[in-house]
């Protein structure tokens, strides 16, 4: 008598299902079984199956059984989604719900990774017509389950499906299809609805691969991907370069200072987008001049040896660019400057006239090319600003009757350097 009442109530509550039952498949999604061993995730039992039901309902060739209305039935026949249901229970459930197909499932794991198993069972034959195991964190679980529901819908309604196999070199990469993690490669004949799909392959230490592909009905699509090794982090960088250092002013508006070769070396450490760089550079800057004398014009070879030690704080920009990585920031440090001249009266023909230190600061920027590689070229430009004037001794000679007369000039010592070099990234996992 009780069973009769239940059956009657189902018929009364689900009138719409019978109207087009000839053309449409009726699907009942049973509460998923909580196998996590705790009660914390027990709410997923109904909420996940609700989500799957909603996704199935989006297919106009599927009728879903309203879950609240079947819960009493489920309780009645003690059917849960443990997966260990008997043919008889399936048949009985189908009978009660008038469903052609029931979907049962279970889930295990923890909020970081939940593994959900879903099965679609033909009520009439008790045959599992499709099953899928998926894993996702709690945050993505509902999206992933919903996307899987679309695949189930395709299988249940007999829509066109095909399969895809994905292999990678090396294997073991995480395979995502339409955002769903389908496991590690190789992926073998994974069922998908016919149509366009998106594949993403992720393996630590390798460049992420993403591509679109099309599944044709009843066909198997084989996709092979050779992953390109990348370096996840390159915190330590060593660089060596060559730059042209161009002075922007000279004492007494003369053009004494000439562009010179500058050799910079540096060691840097990168914190995400911020790089701290310690650098040293050397340049020998020519500031020779001609002395007008009674013996004619005498060229006086002069030069500064400039040793610069600096610390730079640099930010990288446009991280999304694949082949280049612009950066910019500020450097500050000190230059040890020695003023020299060629003098045949001294050892090695070199006379050191003066030696002094100056604080230096300025902006710095550049571009690193192929930033994901261990050895990569870069170009760089920096502006030198010395807040304190720099000193230069200068010499004149009287027309007759005396030797060189020494005097001192002081002047602003601005300039910029432009050049490039190579950076080597030391890999530290």
């Amino acid at each position: 008598m009780k069973k009769t009442v239940l059956l009657l109530s189902l018929f009364l509550l689900l009138p719409g299902m019978t109207l087009s039952a000839q053309q449409k498949k009726t699907v009942a999604v049973i509460n998923f079984s909580n196998e996590t061993g705790g009660e914390g995730l027990s709410y997923l039992s109904t909420s996940l199956s609700d989500s799957v039901t909603a996704s199935l309902a989006a297919n106009d060739r599927i009728l879903t059984v309203e879950r609240r209305q079947i819960s009493a039935v489920i309780d009645e026949i003690k059917l849960d989604l443990s997966g260990m249901v008997s043919d008889e229970s399936i048949s009985r459930a189908g009978e009660i719900t008038s469903a052609d197909v029931i979907i049962i499932g279970s889930y295990t794991g923890n909020p970081e990774k939940i593994t959900l198993t879903m099965k679609a069972i033909n009520v009439e034959t008790a045959e599992v017509i499709y099953a899928r195991v998926i894993s996702a964190g709690l945050g993505e679980l509902f999206d992933v389950a919903s996307r899987e529901a679309y695949v189930f819908a395709s299988v249940i309604t007999g829509e066109d499906t095909g399969r895809v196999s994905v292999s990678t070199v090396p294997s073991g990469a995480e395979i995502y299809i339409d955002g769903t993690n389908t496991g590690k490669s190789p992926l073998v004949e994974y069922l998908l609805p016919a149509g366009s799909h998106r594949l993403k392959v992720v393996l630590k230490g390798y460049k992420e691969e993403e591509r679109d592909f099309i599944i044709e009905a009843e066909k198997i699509r084989n996709i092979g991907i050779s992953l390109i090794e990348t370096i996840e982090t390159y915190p330590w960088n060593f660089s060596l370069g060559a730059m042209l250092r161009k002075p922007l002013n000279s004492p007494s508006d003369s053009d004494l200072f000439r562009s010179s070769l500058e050799i910079p070396v540096s060691v840097s450490y990168t914190f995400d987008r911020l790089t701290v760089e310690g650098g040293y550079s050397f340049t020998k800057m020519d500031h020779s001049e001609t002395i007008d004398s009674v013996f004619g014009d005498i060229e006086q070879t002069r030069w500064y040896n400039i040793h610069t030690f600096s610390i730079s704080l640099l930010m990288s920009f446009f991280e999304e660019l694949e082949y280049m990585r612009p950066y910019g920031g500020l450097f500050l440090g000190g230059s040890m400057i020695s003023d020299n001249r060629e003098n045949s009266s001294y050892d090695n023909d070199k006379e050191n006239l003066d030696r002094f230190g100056r604080f230096v600061i300025g902006p710095k920027g550049g571009i690193v090319f192929f930033p994901d590689y261990k050895l990569k070229p870069y170009i760089e430009m920096l502006f030198y600003f010395y807040p304190e004037d720099v000193i230069r001794k200068s010499y004149t000679i009287p027309p007759l009757g005396g030797g060189l007369q020494e005097s001192e000039d002081s002047f602003k010592f601005y300039g910029f350097s432009i050049g490039g070099g190579l950076k080597y990234s030391y890999r530290q996992r």
């Binding site: 009674v294 004619g296 003098n343 009266s345 010499y395 009287p398 005396g402 030797g403 060189l404």
Partner: protein, 151 residues
């Protein structure tokens, strides 16, 4: 006869004594301190030789002042301050001078040597100084301040 002999001896002795007292000693120190000394000796005619100079001495100045204008020296700056009083001389690049000797002296007019006008023979009381420079115009050698009669 004995008195005549004594008289002759006395006169000769006195004459020799007088002549020895009037001969001034030759200057020894270079005109500037902290430079090396170069000596000048008279050869013959108008030729005066310099002491053997090292290879790095590339340029020579020979400066002649007349007896009225003795060179004034600023030793700190190693410069003769009254060079406008220069009477004449010679420098490397003109004829009649080398790293070993000088035998031509030109008039100094309006800040330049007039190579068409020589001032030889020099007067005995003219002041005579020679300076030597290296390739970088460092003053490395200087003679004492002579008078021509010293040479």
């Amino acid at each position: 006869m004995k008195k005549i002999f004594i008289l002759i001896t006395t006169v000769t002795f006195i004459s020799l004594s007088i002549s020895c007292e009037t001969e001034a000693p030759k200057p020894e120190n270079p005109i500037f301190s902290d430079v090396q000394k170069m000596e000048v000796t008279y050869v013959s005619g108008t030729k005066y030789a310099f002491s053997e100079l090292p290879d790095y001495v590339k340029y020579i100045q020979v400066l002649i002042f007349d007896n009225l204008d003795q060179p004034v020296v600023n030793d700190n700056d190693k410069i003769i301050t009254n060079i406008s009083d220069l009477d004449g001389g010679n420098i490397t690049g003109l004829s009649g001078i080398s790293r070993s000797y000088v035998e031509s002296f030109y008039d100094y007019v309006s800040g330049e040597f007039d190579t068409l006008t020589t001032i030889t023979p020099l007067q005995a009381d003219d002041w005579f100084v020679v300076l030597g420079f290296d390739a970088d115009l460092n003053l490395t050698h200087a003679s004492p301040l002579y008078q021509v009669s010293d040479l």
